[in-house]
Amino acid sequence: MRDTTAPLLDVAGLKTVFHTRSGDVHAVNSISFALEAGELVGVVGESGSGKSVTMMSLMDLLPRSAEIVGGEVLFEGRDVRGMTRAELLQLRGRDVGFVFQDPMTSLNPVFTVGRQITERLRKHMGMTKAEAKVRAAELLGLVGISDPERRLSDYPHQFSGGMRQRVMIAIALACDPKLLIADEPTTALDVTIQAQIIELVRDLRRKLDMGIIWITHDLGVVAGIADRVIVMYAGQIVEQGPVRDLFARPQHPYTRALLETLPKVTGERSERLHTIEGQPPSLGDEPTSCPFAPRCAHAFARCMTENPFRVDVGGGHDVACWWDPETGEMRDV
């Protein structure tokens, strides 16, 4: 039964491995985090950092070559990995909504938008055809599509990119989900359209009480929308904390380098960009040392032999690193 004291989502020690022809790839390495109801967590990292695979692992939406090899996922205290297929379908269809990067590949091109929304309402909410149609129009209106009743009979290709993403959000919200997982939802959109979608999500958050996981590579988007930020590197959480604290005092050398490397549209303009030399590791083996150490300017001998655990730095902010940016010395842990 539902545990009311448990967080909405509680993940502990999650590990996912891809079995490929050229060997295993350890994409997710012992990820632990929790999400409260109504909270928006931004997950940032570069391609291959495991941010999408982690979130797909939560609801077991992985391709066949991937396998979850360890860890625990609790949704409102219920063990997701132990669920039957029927329970899992119910969870994914009703309690969790998904929005992906490219709305054109997630919408079915041969069905009208109306049908794609009403289908879910009828299946998971037990609505009649007429009820579902009313609710579907309401949802399109909620995401800012004008003349929603008429647009229900349009096909996905009749919408622009930004409008299609609004449709995806409407579908994701159809069954009043408790959790919304958005994977790079604005990456394929132009900045002015991205600004519209972000404004929409801010507005929806005020109206609906749901937890949101927002995966992005754009630190600017995260700064404007998230309550809390998780920074991923090489399949691990290297730092996480409340958004203001994380941007005000980034702890991990990777987070700090990422923030320094970004050119800015306002304020001071740097003559030369900071770079992070080298490349992320290939993850053929599970990291036994700090995966960032080869690119890190502050690495100690210990970093080459031991993978740092997450250290609490106060205020709900923690970092998987032994270097203390305030003293420049090794942390006393």
Binding site: G162, D190, V191, E199, V221, L262, P263, T266, H274
Partner: protein, 325 residues
Amino acid sequence: MSEALVEVRNLTMHFDIHAGILRRKVGAVRAVDGLSFDIMQGETLGLVGESGCGKSTTGRAILRLYDPTDGSVKIDGVDIASLNTSDLRKARPQMQMIFQDPQASLNPRMNVSEIIAEPLREHTKMDSAARDARVRELMDAVGLNRAFASRYPHEFSGGQRQRIGIARALALNPKFIVCDEPIAALDVSIQAQVVNLLEDLQRELGLTYLFISHDLSMVRHLATRVAVMYLGKIVELAPRDALYSDPHHPYTQALLSAVPVADPEVEATRKQIILEGDVPSPAKPPEGCNFCTRCPKVMDICRKVSPEFREHAPGRFSACHLMDE
């Protein structure tokens, strides 16, 4: 100010739309609609705009990868747009292009040294020893390990592949390079490496760039002047600092305000101009100003008369009726 290396006048690129059994022409997509601007010797002109605004088509039409519908493009005094095929071929070495997707623009069946040597084989009479020496020199210049000369593109990461594309573009000592979204497919930490390389090469070799990008922050970092495109037209062109600190055109203002800033304190307080609606189709641009359907400052005249692209202040060009008052 230095001299113009590239002079673009009334550049127009329309793509005909054909329909019906007889494939009759039923209209045209006005991808690029009468652009006029100069690119100065040794500068980087940033060309920014959203997808579909015609910025890539502009870059391709300038290098005559498309035959322009109208207008002229003079590069170093030679009108590229009207050259015949053999003269065009002779002019090719001085103008090159770096593409967005290094995966798609490198032949997967050629190894790195073959890819970089290809323009040398096509356009010079170098013997193979001279070509090999030049390939090694180019690999050094772009920071590729010489030992990888016989490897194939798929063995490299995105950032390294982009270095191969840059080495190929440099092979014939060009004066002018069109960079079409060269970093859009790369991760942030790799973007900075490639941008620094482009800047170093520009300084060392005296290159002139047209840098096409949708990334306004990166353009602010590396451009000398910036042109903003909307629906096939340049709406504003200005020196970098002037454009970013005091944008004149309402579209530039909205575009800049839409860029998220990686600072929660700034994000919490700053005022954004959220544009309504979408960009109209370039096959059916609105009457009057192209931006009139979304402009927050639209006036009656904007729906009737298309504003002229003019220099309103020294070095500051824009096409807006507000500036004409």
